[in-house]
Amino acid sequence: MTSTIDSVRDDGTGVPVTASIVGKSPRELAWNRFRKDKFALFAVGVIAFYIFVALFAPIICSALGISPTRLDGQALNDYGLPDGPFGNISTSHLLGVEPGTGRDILARLLYGARVSLMVGFIATFLTTTIGVVLGVVAGYKRGKIDAVIGRMTDLTLAFPSFLLIIALTRPFTQRLESIGVPEGNPARLTYIVLVLSLFGWVYVARVVRGQTLSLREREFVEAARSCGAGNSHIIFKELLPNLWAPVIVIVSLSLPGYVSTEATLSFLGLGMIAPAASWGVMLGDSVKYYRADPTYLFIPGIALIVLVLAFNIVGDAVRDALDPKGDRQNLL
C-alpha cells in the first residue's frame, strides 16, 4: 500500500528537481513499530510453536514413542509413585510420568494443548463475532436497536458469571447430551465454549459500539453515504476495516483468559474428565500429588503460564504498535 508522491520543485534554474516522499499507511506504520519489538516477536514464535505442537501432537507422540493414555506400570514404584527422581524424568519419559497411572506427562501435555487452545480459539472466535456484529449494529443504527442491545449488555453484566457457569455445568451438559451432543467430554467442552461466549461477547460489544459511535460521524462515512452507499456497504467496507485494531487487542487479551477459565473449570472437576488430557485436568491431578511428586505440579502450570504470557505480550505489543502517538516523545 506504499504510495509514492513525486513532488516537483522549481529551484529557479529552470530544471525541475524531483524528490520522492514515501507515504506509509497506518497499517505499515504499526507493523514497523511491532517489528522492532523483539520481545513480542519472540512471543509470536512461542504461540506458533504451541499451535504447531498441538496440531501435530499425534505425530510427535508416535515419533517419540509415547502415548497420552498408555499406563506404564514399569515407571512406577510399589506405592504407585513415579520410580525415580523428579517424577521419573528419563529418556523414555522426557517430562516424567503421572503418579498413580504412569501415563506419560509430555504426551498428555501435547494432547492437552489441543483442548486448551481449541477452547480458547473457538470461544474467542464466537465472542468476537457476536460482539462485533452486535456492537457495530448498536453503534451504527442507534435508537431502539441500540437500546435493546444495551439492556442485554446490562443484564449480562449484572449476573455473577463465574458462579452461574459453575452452577449450570451439570444440568446443561446433561441437556446438551440429551439433544444429541456426544456424551462426556464433547458435551462438556461444548458447554464451556457456549457459556464462555454467552458471558464474553459483552466486553467486545461495548468497545466496538463505542468505536462505531465515533466512526460513524467521520467524514469518510459521510462521503460514502453521499455517494449513495447502502448500510451494508458502510458497515462492511467503511466501518469494519477501521475496527480491526481494537478488536485484535481484545482478542489477544481475552484468549488467555478463556484458556485459564477452562483450566479452572477442569480443576474443579467440571471440565474435561480423564483419561482425556487438558491442562486444567493435569493441574487438578498434580495438586493431589503435591507432596509426593512436586515436579508434576510445575509442568502443566508452566506450560499454561508461558502460553498465556505470550498472548498477553503480543496483545500489549499490538496495542502499543497501533497507538498513533506511539512514536511521540514524552516530555516527562
Binding site: 446490562d154 443484564l155 453484566l157 449484572a158 449476573f159 455473577p160 463465574f162 458462579l163 452461574l164 459453575i166 452452577a167 449450570l168 455445568t169 444440568p171 446433561q174 441437556r175 487479551l253 488467555p256 485459564s260 483450566a263 479452572t264 480443576f267 474443579l268 493441574l283 495438586v287 503435591y290 507432596r291 505440579l297 502450570g301 499454561l304 503460564i305 498465556v308 504470557l309 498472548f311 498477553n312 505480550i313 500489549d316 496495542r319 502517538k325 511521540r328 514524552n330 516530555l331 516527562l332
Partner: protein
C-alpha cells in the same frame, strides 16, 4: 441532576427484577427436584411430598417466583401448625440442606467475604497504582520491563494454581505460617490476620496486575496530552504536574473498574475462598452447587447481582457529577 439519579435508580431496580426472574426461572427449570433432596436416600415418598408442599415446590413456577419476591419484602412462612417455621424479611428462601434461612446463611458468611474483599482491595490498589506509576515514569527502562512483566504474569495466572502454590510453599514446604483457619477478628485478631494474610496477598497481587497496566497506559497517555506539555512549558513543578494533571486523568477509568471489581468480589471470591478454606459466600455457593442447594444458589446470585448493579449505579452517578455531558446524553 436529580432526575438523572432517579432515572438511574429506577433502571437499577428494573434490572434487578429482570435478574431475579432469569435466575429464578433458570434454576427452577433445572431437572432437579428440590423436594427430593430434602431428606436422604431412605426417604419415604410421603415425606418428600410433605416437604414439597411445605416448601412450596408443588405450585407453578410463576407462583413460586411470586412467593420468593414477596418473601424478600415481608418474610415467608413455611408449613402449618406444629411444623411451621418462618424466615423473616428479607427472606431469600430456606435451605433444606443446611436447615436454615438463606438470609441468615448469607449473613454468617458475608462478613468473611467482606473482610477478604476490603483487605485485598486496599492492598491491590496500592500495589497496582504504585507499580504502574513507577513503570510509567521509567518508560522503557528495567523498572518498566519488570512492571509490565509482572502485569502480564499476574493477569495470566489462574487464581487456583497460584493460590495453591503459595499455600503449599508457605504453609507446607517452608512452614512459615500455620494452615489458615478463619477466626472472627472480634474474637482473635492475630489469628484472623494469620488466616487472611495469604488470601489477601494472592488476591491483591493477581488483581493488581491489570491495574498496573491501566495506570501505566493511562499515565503515559496523559503525559502525551497537550495540557501536560503546557504545564511543563510554563514551568510547573514535576510533582504538581504528576499529581494534578497526569494522575487525575489516569485514575478516572481506574476508579470505574475498581468499583465494579470490588462489587464483584463482594459476591464471593469463589476460588480464593475455596483454596484457603475461608467460610465466605464464595465457598458456600460452590458447596451449594455440589449439593444442588438451589435456594442458596438463587440467594447468593441475587446478592452478588445487587452488589454489581449498585456499583454500576454509584459509578454512573459519580460520572454524572464529574462529567456534565453524561447527564445530558443519557
Amino acid at each position: 441532576m436529580f432526575l438523572f439519579v432517579v432515572r438511574r435508580l429506577f433502571f437499577a431496580v428494573v434490572l434487578l427484577l429482570a435478574v431475579s426472574v432469569f435466575t429464578y426461572l433458570l434454576f427452577a427449570l433445572l431437572p432437579t427436584d428440590p423436594a427430593a433432596l430434602t431428606c436422604g436416600i431412605h426417604c419415604k415418598p410421603e415425606t418428600v411430598l410433605a416437604n414439597r408442599i411445605r416448601l412450596g415446590y408443588d405450585k407453578p413456577v410463576l407462583e413460586q417466583y411470586w412467593q420468593f419476591l414477596r418473601g424478600i419484602f415481608v418474610g415467608r412462612d413455611y408449613g402449618l401448625g406444629q411444623t411451621a417455621f418462618s424466615c423473616p424479611a428479607p427472606s431469600l428462601g430456606y435451605s433444606f440442606n443446611q436447615h436454615a434461612c438463606v438470609t441468615s446463611l448469607i449473613g454468617e458468611t458475608f462478613p468473611v467475604t467482606a473482610f477478604l474483599a476490603i483487605g485485598a482491595f486496599i492492598l491491590w490498589m496500592i500495589i497496582g497504582i504504585g507499580v504502574g506509576a513507577i513503570a510509567a515514569l521509567n518508560k522503557g527502562k528495567w523498572q518498566d520491563r519488570f512492571a509490565t512483566g509482572f502485569a502480564a504474569v499476574g493477569v495470566s495466572l489462574p487464581t487456583f494454581y497460584i493460590g495453591l502454590l503459595v499455600l503449599f510453599s508457605v504453609v507446607i514446604w517452608f512452614q512459615i505460617l500455620p494452615f489458615p483457619s478463619y477466626e472472627s477478628p472480634l474474637d482473635n485478631f492475630s489469628a484472623f490476620i494469620t488466616a487472611m494474610i495469604l488470601p489477601w496477598l494472592v488476591l491483591a497481587v493477581l488483581s493488581a496486575a491489570s491495574y498496573t497496566r491501566l495506570t501505566r497506559n493511562g499515565m503515559l497517555e496523559a503525559m502525551n496530552e497537550d495540557f501536560v506539555r503546557l504545564g511543563v512549558a510554563k514551568g510547573l513543578r514535576l510533582r504538581v504536574i504528576l499529581l494534578r494533571y497526569v494522575m487525575r486523568q489516569a485514575l478516572i477509568p481506574i476508579v470505574t473498574i475498581a468499583g465494579l471489581d470490588f462489587a464483584g468480589l463482594l459476591g464471593g471470591a469463589i476460588i480464593t475462598e475455596s483454596v484457603f478454606s475461608l467460610p465466605g459466600m464464595g465457598r458456600m455457593s460452590i458447596r451449594a452447587v455440589v449439593d444442588s442447594d438451589l435456594p442458596v444458589l438463587v440467594g447468593t446470585t441475587m446478592v452478588a447481582a445487587v452488589f454489581i448493579v449498585a456499583a454500576n449505579v454509584i459509578v454512573d452517578i459519580a460520572y454524572g457529577f464529574l462529567d456534565p455531558r453524561v447527564r445530558v446524553s443519557s
